[in-house]
């Protein structure tokens, strides 16, 4: 539904060139909810805006809904107003001089396809109902709360009946509770309409809960693309791993099925690790703590340095052979103190070859 090939874009400013996109390839299937995840400056918004037609890339190709939208080779650039996609902006971009109804109706009366008045009324009503804003049709836009503006923006984007819906950090201006509510709404609506969504965010929780697939971006490149659990469990690089939350890194030397790390020898799940310097990543929730020694591989002795109660769980700092490990455990029991046994299940370890640098 969206196909991007070898897309590149460089901004040239007074302070030098910034490579916003470096030969990015992307394929989003029909009906898929696809999230672009990355820190600011990673190029995710430039990619989204290029698909929308708001940015003109330097090279590569874009196809939207089976139509060529941009091709540097064929010198083709279909302007944004001709691409027929829906978009929700970070600022919502609700037109403040219009009512809710007029906001949703304007693209239908002034846009590419202009509908008869009766059809406009029907479409607007349907779209507002979809987001639960039908009661507010007559309300002037400045009188809406942030969450309501967000929903009107969604209704406006959906009213033109697009095959592709683009969303640029739509939740970043909402407070935490509202964010969760709107997130659920977006997911439900997208599923109901089977619209293809390309969604930009820097929040990994948002990405994980919404996406069918995620592409992690940094420095104008896609580091890895895949289903959320795949990225979480099998990150392709330490950088991707770090994106999905805190992780403990242990440096070491692999020899057969064992790696000599700074906290001691650890047995690996696979025997095949080629000898050499590697880095082992373990998520805090995979650092199992117990007062009694567990019968398993990779059990080390550690010292609790701090335990922080965060509600549902404890966050521990455990010192193991001079190194602090972050551990996370359910808080259904009392916090552990003093000397504890630390179990690192080999199936939960992510291995990476250490960069020569």
């Amino acid at each position: 539904m969206i196909r991007v090939a070898k897309l590149s874009k460089t901004y040239r400013g007074a302070s030098g060139a910034v490579h916003a996109l470096r030969e990015v390839d992307l394929d989003v299937a029909r009906g898929e909810f696809f999230v672009l995840l990355g820190p600011s400056g990673s190029g995710k918004t430039t990619l989204l805006r290029s698909v929308a037609g708001l940015e003109r890339p330097d090279g590569g190709e874009i196809e939207v809904g089976g139509h060529a939208a941009f091709s540097s080779e064929r010198k083709l650039f279909v302007p944004a107003e001709e691409r027929g996609v829906g978009m929700v902006f970070q600022s919502y971009a609700i037109w403040p001089h219009l009512t809710v109804f007029e906001n949703v109706a304007l693209p239908l009366t002034q846009g590419k396809k202009r509908l008869a008045r009766e059809r406009v009324r029907q479409r607007v009503a349907d779209a507002l109902k979809l987001v639960g804003m039908e009661e507010y049709a007559a309300r002037p836009a400045p009188l809406l709360s942030g969450g309501q503006q967000q929903r009107v923006a969604l209704a406006r984007a959906l009213a033109i009946d697009p095959e592709v819906l683009l969303m640029d950090e739509p939740l970043s201006n909402l407070d935490a509770r509202l964010r969760e509510e709107v997130r659920v709404k977006i997911k439900a609506v997208a599923r109901e309409l089977r619209v293809t969504v390309l969604y930009v965010t820097h929040d990994q929780v948002e990405a994980m809960t919404l996406a069918d697939r995620i592409a992690v971006m940094a420095d104008g490149r896609i580091l890895q693309a895949g289903a959320p659990d795949e990225l979480y469990r099998r990150p392709a690089s330490p950088r991707v791993a770090e994106f999905f939350g805190a992780i403990n890194w242990l440096r070491g030397e692999a020899r057969g099925g064992v790696v000599e790390t700074e906290i001691g020898a650890l047995r690996l799940a696979v025997d095949g690790a080629a000898p050499g310097r590697i880095v082992v990543g373990v998520r805090p929730e995979d650092v199992k703590l117990s007062a009694a020694r567990a019968e398993a591989d990779n059990v080390l002795v550690g010292e609790v340095r701090s335990a922080v109660f965060t509600g549902g769980e404890f966050l521990y700092d455990i010192e193991v052979n001079g190194k602090l490990l972050l551990a996370r455990a359910m808080s259904d029991r009392e916090a552990l103190k003093g000397t504890v046994f630390v179990h690192l299940p080999s199936a939960r370890m992510a291995l990476f070859r250490e960069d020569p640098s």
């Binding site: 083709l76 279909v78 944004a80 396809k113 033109i160």
Partner: protein
């Protein structure tokens, strides 16, 4: 198949390029006129005009006069404007909103009307104040018809501009910098001298350069006071070269002087932007807004502050206009006295050339409406390209649109007169029509229109437009349905402001008006030039009366600070 056809965007760019090309053209005309000479063999390149200009002592006297005039005007403007700005922005003076209102009003008072009032006050023979001085020291007279005198009058008129320019500087001063000084034991006068003033200094300097640039171009005050007494500054020099009392017009000399002053004005503008940029280094950029620290004024402080402001408002704004109205009611000028009051009459009003005046009023009304509308339309095209599009060369377009602000208006008028008379004469007979005035006024005011809309557009989130674009709304529909409604307050404000500036315009009109396209200010000035001072005063008073509804409308709709970048 879909193709990118000639887009609405390129249409908009074409619209924006028309005024830009005209501006560049008009600025090149003086250069061309000044370096050519007609010989029997046709036109040849020649520096004769420059040689003639710089070998004539009269040129040097004019330059000297201009320098004195400019310096006194700037000093006067700053010594009233800067303290007023400080008082309003940095003290706890009660009811200071009034000061803003009066200062903005001051920008609207036509300079040539104030100048007339001042002649009635300080004319060596008939001046009210001089008569009063004469009663005490018979030999003493203040001569308004001197570069110093004219500079003072001009400076009073420019004080509101100094006020508005420096008020912004004082307002944006970060209070934390002064609080830091206070915490570290630097307070009172020392804090003012060591922290407040150095921080405000770039802003004040920039305002000073800005005012010098405007003083350099000033026409109205030197025209009303200086011309009849043969004291010339730059703008009136050009006027006399084109409208000499005897002999043929000397476009070449006027153009050569014009080129010289353009270079001067250009350097001043360059300096202005340099100082501004330098000033921005001090600006602590924060998103949050803060209120600058305000100095507590005691009862005595409040008294002195209001005294100072009242003195300015009285001398700078009320006194000359009151004198003008007083004079218009007298058969011949005399001091207020019981006898004079008994003699008040409307004879000057009855004696006004009413048909002529009505013609002028009609033309002026047409120009006010047409100039404001065209300026805003063209400015929207230019500002959109500069602020919103990523078109190459948009900054050049912006700079070109700004040029009329930096270059004295009389130079535009000179070029336009020359083009209309000698280039367009045969195929577009525009000279002597109101359309010539319209065209030149529009080009001149586009500089203001684009400054205003650049600021206004920058405050409208680009995503509001992009939302329309992505959802299929084409450019002109976006402008009509999204941008123009959102910019409505700025448009209304700007429309009224441009209309008011058009109402009082005399500089450009002085070279382009003929009996067939006379404007109201030109009728009044014509009466003045013919020597019937009291009748001119009556015309001026009528001019003030006609202006009132517009000022009221401006106040009602645009209850905001006078827009940035305006030019009196």
């Amino acid at each position: 198949m879909r193709f990118s056809r000639p887009t609405q965007r390129s249409v908009l760019i074409a619209i924006a390029l028309i005024p830009a090309a005209a501006i560049v053209g008009l600025l090149l005309i003086p250069v061309w006129v000044s370096i050519r000479a007609d010989t029997d063999a046709g036109a040849v390149f020649s520096l004769r005009a420059y040689r003639a200009l710089f070998s004539d002592p009269f040129s040097y006297r004019t330059l000297f006069n201009t320098a004195i005039f400019c310096s006194i005007a700037t000093l006067t403007a700053l010594s009233f404007g800067v303290p007023a700005a400080w008082i309003v922005e940095r003290t706890t003076l009660p009811r200071k909103g009034l000061v803003f209102t009066f200062m903005t009003a001051g920008l609207l008072i036509p300079g040539f009307l104030s100048a007339m009032g001042w002649v009635f006050l300080l004319h060596p023979r008939i001046g009210l104040v001089n008569a009063a001085i004469g009663m005490v020291v018979p030999e003493w007279r203040i001569n308004i018809a001197s570069p110093v005198g004219m500079g003072f009058v001009q400076g009073l008129g420019l004080a509101p501009l100094a006020f508005i320019r420096t008020a912004a500087t004082f307002r944006s001063a970060n209070p934390e910098l002064e609080e830091a000084a206070a915490v570290h034991g630097i307070a009172g006068v020392r804090a003012f001298l060591r922290v407040t003033l150095p921080l405000a200094w770039p802003g004040i300097l920039a305002a000073a350069i800005y005012i010098v640039t405007i003083g350099l171009a000033a026409f109205e005050v030197p025209a009303v006071i200086g011309l009849s007494n043969r004291v010339f500054t730059f703008s009136t020099y050009i006027y006399t070269q084109v409208h000499p009392n005897e002999g043929a017009p000397r476009y070449d000399l006027a153009a050569a002087f014009g080129v010289f002053v353009m270079a001067l004005a250009g350097s001043l503008s360059w300096l202005y932007f340099r100082v501004l940029r330098h000033g921005h280094r001090f600006a602590v950029v924060t998103g949050r807004s803060y209120r600058p620290r305000q100095t507590e004024l005691g009862r005595g402080g409040v008294f002195f502050a209001w005294m100072f402001l009242s003195v300015y408002l009285f001398i700078g704004q009320l006194l000359p206009l009151l004198t003008l109205v007083w004079s218009s009611l007298l058969r011949y000028f005399q001091l207020p006295s019981a006898a004079a009051f008994a003699n008040l009459s409307l004879v000057n009003y009855r004696g006004l050339p009413w048909p002529h005046l009505i013609d002028g009023l009609k033309n002026t009304a047409f120009l006010m409406a047409a100039v404001s509308t065209f300026v805003l339309a063209l400015s929207l095209a230019i500002s959109w390209i500069v602020v919103r599009s990523k078109a190459r060369g948009r900054f050049v377009l912006d700079a070109v649109a700004f040029l009329p602000h930096a270059v004295p208006g009389i130079i535009f008028a000179l070029s336009a007169a020359y083009v209309a008379l000698f280039v367009l004469r045969d195929f577009v007979p525009i000279y002597g029509t109101v359309f010539l005035l319209l065209a030149v006024y529009v080009l001149e005011r586009t500089s203001f229109g684009t400054r205003m809309l650049n600021n206004a557009l920058a405050q409208i989130h680009p995503e509001l437009e992009e939302a329309g674009q992505v959802m299929g709304i084409a450019l002109f529909r976006r402008l009509a349905r999204i941008l123009v409604p959102l910019l409505a307050p700025a448009f209304l404000n700007g429309w009224l402001w441009i209309a008011l500036l058009t109402y009082r315009e005399l500089t450009i009109a002085s070279l382009l008006v003929t009996p067939d396209n006379v404007t109201l200010p030109m009728v009044i000035w014509g009466l003045w030039q013919s020597g019937s001072f009291t009748r001119a005063a009556a015309g001026a008073a009528m001019g003030l009366v006609f202006m009132l509804p517009f000022v009221a409308a401006y106040w009602y709709f645009g209850r905001r600070l006078a827009p940035e970048g305006l030019k009196a």
